[in-house]
């Protein structure tokens, strides 16, 4: 048997390292700028290392962004958790309790994942006004929950499809009904899928701009809207903007660093490759 021969030459690392530089450039600029003192900040020296580590920029950026960071936190957790629970129930029914018409319902739900939101934005705003949720965070949470249903349903359905139907059948012989099978058999082994989905929803709600800018009033802005506003203004220096960008990116970056492999699974579900 011939073992698969890998290219062992060192020059294969040249493009890999060059690509690494390409991906790290924005992080590098954000961090070296962020850690400079105000007097050291100048566009001329933006690529230089800071002479001493200072937190002026991060403090200024945090002061400017703190309320909006909290808005984001208050919005993403309910958004991620509620849409995950709904996705789990839908996934269970669509994977294990197919009924007449469920083969049409599933793709019809999935399509909602791909629509450009410009095609529902006007009714969404009107509707939120009608039910008095316009301008505040609950309305934004509702939008994220509902437009998150397709991806959460897809992920859970694919996950539950891999669980042998004998498990469910055995529980039915033991007298379990539809709900108790879910509660006693599937829910306890759903943790991996919940982690994937919650991370995915957390990231996409945190990073969203469109719903936030259209549905919330200034005091309820999440950090993406506030950061964009800060970057557009002439008053706030570019070094504070860089530090602010880093603060706005930090929560999802931490999630990625510590739970990256789950994040990747969420991504793959987005490509319908669960």
């Amino acid at each position: 048997m011939i073992a698969r021969k890998g290219i062992k030459n060192w020059y294969i690392y040249i493009p890999l390292v060059m690509a690494a530089f390409f991906y790290l450039i924005p992080m590098y600029v954000m961090l070296v700028t962020g850690f400079k003192g105000f007097e050291e900040v100048s566009l001329k020296t933006m690529w230089n290392f800071p002479k001493e580590i200072r937190f002026d920029n991060f403090i200024a950026a945090y002061k400017a962004l703190a309320p909006y960071l909290w808005n984001s936190f208050n919005m993403v957790f309910p958004a991620a958790i509620i849409s995950s629970i709904l996705g789990s129930l839908n996934g269970y029914v669509l994977a294990k309790w197919k009924f007449k018409g469920s083969d049409i319902i599933f793709p019809a739900i999935l399509f909602g994942m791909f629509i450009p939101y410009q095609s529902i934005l006007i009714p969404l705003v009107e509707f939120m006004r009608d039910i008095n949720l316009y301008g505040g965070l609950p309305g934004l949470v509702l939008a994220h929950v509902i437009y998150g249903i397709p991806i959460t349903t897809l992920t859970f359905r694919n996950y539950y499809a891999t669980i042998p139907k004998e498990l469910i059948e055995a529980s039915r012989i033991d007298g379990c009904g539809l709900l108790s099978s879910y509660w006693h058999i599937l829910l306890p082994i759903s943790a991996p899928a919940f982690v994937v989905v919650i991370i995915w929803q957390f990231t996409s709600a945190w990073n969203d701009f469109l719903f936030a800018v259209v549905l919330t009033s200034p005091s309820n802005w999440p950090v993406t809207v506030a950061l964009n506003n800060m970057a557009g203004s002439q008053i706030i220096a570019w070094n504070v903007q860089m530090a602010g960008s880093f603060l706005a990116a930090l929560p999802t970056l931490l999630v990625y660093i510590f739970l990256g492999r789950y994040f990747l699974r969420g991504l793959m579900a987005g490509a319908l490759k669960g």
Partner: protein, 310 residues
Amino acid sequence: MIDGMINYPKIQAGKMRIKRETLLSVALITPSVLAIAIFVYGFIGWTARVSLSKWKGLLPDYTWVGLENFLGLFKDPRFHIDIRNTLIFTVIFVIGSLIIGLGLAILLDQNIKGEGFFRSLYLFPMAISFIVTGVVWRWLMNPATGSRMSGLNLLFDALGLDFLISRWHTTPYWGIAFIALPAIWQMSGYTMALYLGGLRGIPVELREAAQVDGANEVQIYQFIILPLLRPITLSAMIILGHISLKVFDLIIAVAGKQLPLDVPAIYMWQVTFDGYFFGRGAAIGILLLLSVAVLIVPYLIYTLRSEAEL
């Protein structure tokens, strides 16, 4: 296809139970189905209705005007710029992401040391919002020259790579092409992950058989591996293509709202929420939806059908 309920129908009591549980299972997904029916399909219908109405101003006006809003758009020079910009952006963004993604995936597939490290590094921009990416790249792609030079231009100048110094997104006519650069930065790692998944799915036996037949490494890629990756390329093109049709926040964060870099999503936002021309905004929304649907609907049908055949 076959599920738990098949085993029971012989018994009358079982039949009752199945009927009840089918109702229960339907009841369980009804809230979500209703929500999607209203917020996706109902709202699309509502937008379509607005796109056929006269509504311009703060108060809704559903007076029927037929296709007037669409015809107005097609005659609008701004919309022509939007279509041109979307095309340029899409071509550069999709091709750039595919080439970089495939290249990195092939390199990472060579049993190299530190594969996991490089993979995570290439993928991390996916975790960041387009707004953050845009704000940082706005300073990297600063077009100022001379004594006010900064960002990548300053770096190129210092490295003696003067020929790379660019006006970036302020380049006349082709400015939008440079917006594809941060988009590629953000999405090429994802494309790499898709390809890497595909490469890992190719059985080792195929490569071995080709090696036995005397094929060299280049021929193995050319005749065996690349053709097998075609479905991945297709999925990646569709996913990247639909992202580029929706591109919005990245441009806003890099350059704000300016006409040379306008795209349909920005036009829709401005004409609706700044200009209160709801009829026209809705028409843009519907056109965006149609162009995405042309990509996504066949893809959904194809993917679900091939899944059912497994």
